[in-house]
Symmetry: C2
């Protein structure tokens, strides 16, 4: 399939229509943003890495019974995906305290949570993606109670599958962000991408950060960290 | 009973020990703060009004089966209460969009919610009382799942009782804040106060604000609004 009309440009990806109205091409860029897009830059070959990683992980999750928008990878930067209407909720699942949760509650990064912490952030740039709760989701009318239940169920399943998978690659899954969407106006499926842009991954032995925090915090070797994750995941 | 050792000064109240170790005297001040205590002032006779209102409302809620810390009113500004260890959660129940929720989600004040919205704010001044969810409560260890269930149940019961009560006084209960505490180390009971400091109350006919928003927003006639609520509640 070929790219037809360009329809959307996000911070890290572009979307194009295809000849099939239910199928899009998702193109992965090297652009990186952080801190509410106040920090901008590029990470060399990030698009290629994230495309391959997302292919691998979506394939794994499909096998575990989690429906995703992934159809197939077309080339280095493009992937064929089901066209969904994105639910404007950034789902964050946390196994270890880091990032926003450390800041919100003044907790030390690295605290292992007894139970995973699941958060909804209202995906609305101009409000800075605020943390919200189930009642806010209902008040905003952005998902039904049933849809929210499905999103919860899939999010925990994703966490279980990915914790185990990354552990086998000597990586700790600290936390991650998911986005879901409605396919053909109803079926809730996992969308977006799964990569070091959307997951915090630490080396199991050294606790070295191998994710976008290297870019956020100017830790250096950003491109190398993404390549290292790809190398381990593909090994 | 008489005031013995002074033990705590909050923004609007002081607490004193009594000769009974399980009983405190809660003294209502005229001090008012807003916007994370960046705005400070006094509202004439507020302490007297809030003491009387809280007496009336706690008595009503006890009759509805909600246990509270209220024992009896002693005089204009003092009330005898059960000594509790406060759970550091500010419980906010909303029937109509206003205040923090309007700001958080960029919604117009005055939107009637189809279902009440219940929020937890972590009571921690230095973090600015952030909105948190159930999982954060568990991660912080500030309440058990069972305690949180009890708090939820009581909060909905309080809302039902107070909506009806204020409606009969020609007042709309827009939203309110509750605090709970553990009495004798275990029983969860309603504590703090219930007043125009902690409830948004609008005149049913004119929609005029009769609560602390008059102070927050410099709307004038602040003392008069508190007196008017007291007059109607006592009528």
């Amino acid at each position: 399939m070929e790219k037809r009309k360009f329809i959307y440009e996000g911070k890290a990806k572009r979307l194009y229509e295809t000849d099939d109205q239910d199928i899009l091409i998702q193109e992965f860029k090297d652009d990186a943003t952080a801190f509410d897009a106040t920090k901008r830059g590029t990470i060399g070959n990030k698009g290629i890495v994230n495309n391959k990683l997302s292919e691998k992980i979506f394939t794994l999750l499909e096998k575990k019974g989690i429906p995703t928008h992934f159809i197939k990878r077309l080339n280095d930067r493009d992937m064929l995906v089901k066209r969904v209407k994105i639910v404007p909720i950034e789902v964050t699942m946390r196994n270890i305290v880091a990032g926003g949760m450390a800041k919100l509650l003044a907790l030390d990064e690295g605290i292992i949570l007894k139970k995973p912490v699941l958060e909804w952030h209202y995906k609305e740039d101009k409000l800075h993606d605020p943390l919200i709760n189930d009642d806010h989701v209902m008040a905003l009318g952005i998902a039904t109670p049933k849809e929210l239940e499905i999103i919860k169920k899939y999010s925990y399943k994703v966490n279980e599958a990915l914790k185990k998978f990354f552990d086998s690659k000597n990586l700790i899954l600290v936390d991650f962000k998911l986005e879901f969407g409605r396919y053909k106006g109803k079926t809730m499926i996992l969308a977006d991408e799964i990569s070091p842009d959307t997951c915090r991954l630490w080396d199991k032995t050294t606790k070295e950060k191998l994710d976008k925090d290297r870019f956020r915090r100017d830790l250096g070797n950003v491109e190398e960290a993404y390549q290292e994750v790809l190398r381990r995941v593909m090994a």
